[in-house]
């Protein structure tokens, strides 16, 4: 019936492959979407060459936020950290395969915002990271 809740989103929401927390980890960051109360934490392990060798997300929130986190985390394993720094909003939207209004866009991009704040080693995540 609807594009917004494509099977892939419901499936990743209900059965995420990468939910959890890596301990120890090399990079960790967490943030909230105050509007919805969505919460995402991402933990990463990197190797000496600067590649992401493993990644997990944890948190709670709507199907869009959690599914996009699962898809994002899955997609960055094996990628160089430098490449992850360049990821933008289109990258996430393409994976989700849906169009989103301004309110739900924040849900979809929370995980990318958290990821980029983490790889850049920032103290605080800002919306400009995913514009």
């Amino acid at each position: 019936m609807d594009d917004l809740y494509r099977e892939v989103i419901i499936e990743h929401y209900k059965n995420p492959g990468y939910r959890g927390r890596l301990d120890p980890h090399d990079i960790q960051f967490a943030d909230n979407n105050p509007l919805c109360g969505d919460h995402i934490e991402i933990t990463l392990r990197t190797d000496e060459a600067g590649n992401i060798v493993d990644a997990r997300f944890d948190g709670h929130g709507c199907a869009i936020s959690q599914a996009s986190a699962d898809l994002l985390v899955e997609s960055i394993i094996g990628k160089p950290v430098e490449e992850v720094k360049q990821l933008n909003k289109d990258y996430v939207l393409e994976m989700l395969g849906i169009d989103l209004g301004p309110v739900r866009l924040k849900c979809a991009l929370l995980s990318l915002k958290v990821l980029k704040a983490g790889v850049y080693g920032l103290g605080e995540a800002s919306d400009s990271l995913v514009e």
Binding site: G37, G61, C62, A63, R104
Partner: protein
């Protein structure tokens, strides 16, 4: 006399709207803002087409007319809440600004370090943050009347707080999440016995119940037009005359002064002392039209209708497996139902309901501490007003079953 809801719905142009082709609007978000009847839209439209001018200082025909319309609306609003005088109605932008006016003007003049202000755990952010700011500025102390599991204020705990000699008690008349209608008259009586001044956040009560500021003996009472069929951008603060007169101005500028010299000013009389700058004139006219509209229907009839819908909605929601409703039983509440559905985030619930044209709200509804109290990040909220029907409740329930199926 019961409301003629079919006729009422025809008064609201927005109900002609289809959200998608063939999908009518089911508007269950009046707690956020109500829809507007044609009478209000037309009153504002007429004002701009016929009478628009700035108020108070002009002597030309239009200035006289707009001033008269602006002030007539104030008289209507005063009567609506049974204020002794229209001079005690201060136009603000909304409830939030009304509460801020009290905090900035009365609060700064009367509160000092260590003074206790009592709030409740069920407040909207608009009745928390102004006091947080004053706490940072002045070192006042804040304490909170706890909310019971059932969603009522714990009045025994309140009495214990009162024994600490608070200067102010500021509380919501009706919760925008739980729907709880608090026993305002009793809360105020007890506060007065303890020597405290009271502020009533009436954003949710004035639109839905008969509110009488004199019967309540409220010191201050704040509400917004847009939740009671009026426009956005205008609200009101009622205050007792002696308090308002004793208070310093809030914002400085035109209209709030009697005279201005290079190095000094003398403030205007009430209510203008608190109305700096060109106000929302057309909105005031719309506010007056909204009060006329509600008064003609009768607040008791509106409250009775909403009670019936709420009772029915609670009954139907509770029969859906996996749904948990927050807040007290229908006898203690107005037309607000906050709920969660097992395994589905409230945002997803709201988004899927929107596909069927059903507008509910999802989030913490500007009451994050209350959600923390119940251990929830968010809820979905369906709220009802004079134009809602039991058929719409049925559509909501069918929609929730669809959500369950998708996430099942």
């Amino acid at each position: 006399m019961p409301l003629n809801v079919t006729k009422i719905r025809n008064d609201f142009p927005i109900f002609q709207r289809e959200i998608q082709p063939g999908v009518p609007l089911v508007y269950l978000d009046s707690t956020a803002t109500s829809q507007k009847p044609l009478a209000v839209i037309e009153a504002m439209n007429d004002f701009y087409r016929r009478s628009n001018a700035n108020i108070h200082r002009g002597v030309h025909t239009l200035a006289e007319e707009s001033t008269a319309l602006y002030e007539q609306a104030r008289v209507k609003i005063a009567k609506f809440i049974h204020a002794p005088s229209a001079h005690q109605i201060i136009y603000t932008r909304n409830t939030t600004e009304s509460i801020n006016l009290v905090a900035y003007s009365w609060g700064r003049a009367n509160l000092k370090a260590g003074d206790l202000v009592i709030l409740t755990e069920m407040e909207h952010h608009s009745n928390l943050v102004p006091w947080h700011i004053l706490q940072g500025e002045r070192g006042i102390e804040l304490d909170f009347i706890p909310v019971t599991e059932e969603g009522l204020l714990n009045l025994e705990a309140y009495k214990a707080l009162l024994s600490r000699g608070p200067k102010l008690v500021s509380f919501t008349h009706m919760s925008n999440v739980l729907g709880t209608i608090n026993p305002a008259a009793e809360i105020i009586r007890l506060a007065h016995e303890a020597g405290a001044v009271t502020v009533v956040d009436a954003a949710q009560s004035v639109p839905h119940l008969k509110v009488d500021v004199q019967a309540l003996d409220a010191d201050f009472l704040a509400f917004s037009a847009h939740k009671m069929c009026g426009p956005t951008g205008i609200g009101a603060l009622y205050g007792k005359m002696a308090l308002l007169e004793s208070m310093p101005p809030f914002l400085g500028g035109g209209d709030m002064i009697k005279e201005v010299h290079l190095r000094s000013f003398r403030p205007n009389t009430l209510p203008y002392k608190f109305e700096a700058g060109t106000p929302a004139i057309a909105e005031a006219v719309g506010f007056g039209a909204a009060v006329d509209y509600l008064s003609a229907l009768g607040m008791d009839a509106i409250a009775a209708h909403e009670h019936e819908i709420t009772e029915y909605a609670l009954e139907r929601l509770e029969e859906v497996p996996g749904v948990k409703v927050f807040g007290p039983s229908a006898q203690y509440k107005g037309g607000v139902t906050a709920f969660v559905l097992d395994g589905v985030h409230p945002h997803d619930v709201a988004q899927i309901l929107d596909r069927d044209g059903i507008a509910v709200r999802a989030g913490h509804h500007c009451a994050q501490p209350l959600h923390e109290r119940f251990g929830l990040p968010a809820t979905s909220r369906a709220s009802f007003y004079l134009y809602n029907t039991k058929d719409e409740v049925d559509l909501l329930i069918n929609g929730i079953y669809k959500v369950k199926e998708m996430f099942g």
